[in-house]
């Protein structure tokens, strides 16, 4: 069989050097996505006429377009309208694209998480003289976070894998490096297998972190 284990081991380290850039894309995008997603969820939940529909439109729009198309619109399309954006580097464009995309998923997840917190928690806070912002940040969000964690985690896992699309903007991350090595060595199977396994490892590592996060967050709710 035409399979070179030795080669696989050699390139593993070479490809692994690009783990940081993949993680950078995933983690920074996730942080922005969480912030935007939370704001959109709160707006969507507010009963202020008009802007709640706007939030709905935002969610629907970014969820409805393929990530790849969004990336191209941002990186190749926007500078055409706003020439000053032509200095935008590919990494920034990718982070913007991923953040917007993921935030639209997270907004719905967070909204469900917020709504799953018992209404009595808000009422109890108001009745003891707390302000809404205080109740949200100290009582409701921590409880909503636990409810939203599994789905948020799945979104992050998808995001880690989706960062491979960044190669289309010319960013050298895990997948792009694999592509370069594969076309040089013509050992496509081994190279892409290594790339795939590294993604898998990252996902396993994250799942493991999430498990501990879940245990920590749910500590108060266990009997």
């Amino acid at each position: 069989m035409n399979f070179d284990l030795q080669y696989m081991l050699e390139i593993s380290l070479q490809i692994a050097k690009y783990i940081p850039i993949t993680l950078l894309l995933a983690i920074v995008s996730m942080v922005f996505a969480i912030i935007i997603g939370l704001v959109v969820a709160l707006i969507r939940n507010s009963k202020i006429f008009g802007i709640t529909h706007l939030a709905g439109l935002y969610i629907s729009l970014f969820r409805g377009m393929p990530t790849l198309v969004q990336l191209f619109i941002i990186y190749y399309g926007l500078p055409q309208l706003f020439p000053s954006l032509s200095t935008m580097d590919a990494i920034m464009a990718a982070i913007i694209g991923f953040s917007l995309k993921e935030s639209s998923y997270l907004a719905e997840i967070f909204r469900a998480g917020l709504n799953s917190v018992d209404k009595g928690q808000m009422e109890a806070g108001l009745a003891t003289g707390m302000k809404r912002v205080q109740i949200y940040s100290r009582i409701i969000l921590p409880q909503a976070a636990l409810n939203a964690l599994p789905a948020t985690g799945n979104t992050f896992i998808s995001l880690i894998k989706e960062t491979s699309l960044a190669f289309t903007l010319g960013i050298t991350e895990l997948f792009a490096e694999g592509k370069i090595l594969a076309s040089a060595s013509m050992r496509f199977f081994e190279t892409y297998l290594v790339v795939g396994l590294i993604y898998w490892l990252l996902v396993i590592l994250y799942s493991w972190i999430q498990k501990y996060l879940e245990i920590w967050l749910s500590k108060p709710l266990r009997r």
């Binding site: 009745a127 205080q134 500590k219």
Partner: protein, 251 residues
Amino acid sequence: MIKVRNLTKHFGDKQVLTDINLDIKTGEVVAIIGPSGSGKSTLLRCLNLLEKPSNGTIEIKDVKLNTQKYKARDAYQLRQQTAMVFQHYNLFKNKTALKNVIESLLVSSKMKKEEAIQIGENLLKRVGLEKQAHQYPATLSGGQQQRVSIARALAVKPHAILFDEPTSALDPELVNEVLQVIRQLSKEDTTMVIVTHEMQFAKEVADHVIFMADGQIIEQGTPEQVIEHSLNPRTQRFLRQAGDETDGAAR
């Protein structure tokens, strides 16, 4: 002192409170009784604006509010005058018993942590739960949770405490420990408004009893007047039914 004038409330087309007038003196213990669906909870929840009243004025201690036009700040000030004990306790699930009690001291009163903890521990001792201070609500029995929620209500030193059926979600054997705490409070000078189905208890702790039906105050007076010797046929019918239920439960 609580003074309510011409309070009405409707949910959509449905009139739930009709022209409620109420005078409660400082330090007085008032029991509100009446059939389910008569608007007792809604009345209490209008007093701290958890429900937005449709009309009328509410005055508690020195805060007076016209329910037709008020700002968020007015609502906040009115709420500061009262605390509420809910039927389902509504303890903050992500906070220990002690943290539940001192939460509003920390964030609303901006009290120093050590001072708040001192107050919190004393209050928990008062409701007999000093040993449970660091337990989360999920690990406490219903009776214990309700006692924590009473301590939480006391912490803000409210002018009045509103109790909405504080024992009706509890298993029968846990009712007494909660009633005992309220009984103790009733001897002090806190103003209390208690919605309850426990007639015996109402008779014992209340200075004043209000009977409500269909969103109106039908009759009010001393416990003797309303619970013992009511001349009003609706009150009589309600009390007879309540009595039957208690007998049924005892059997």
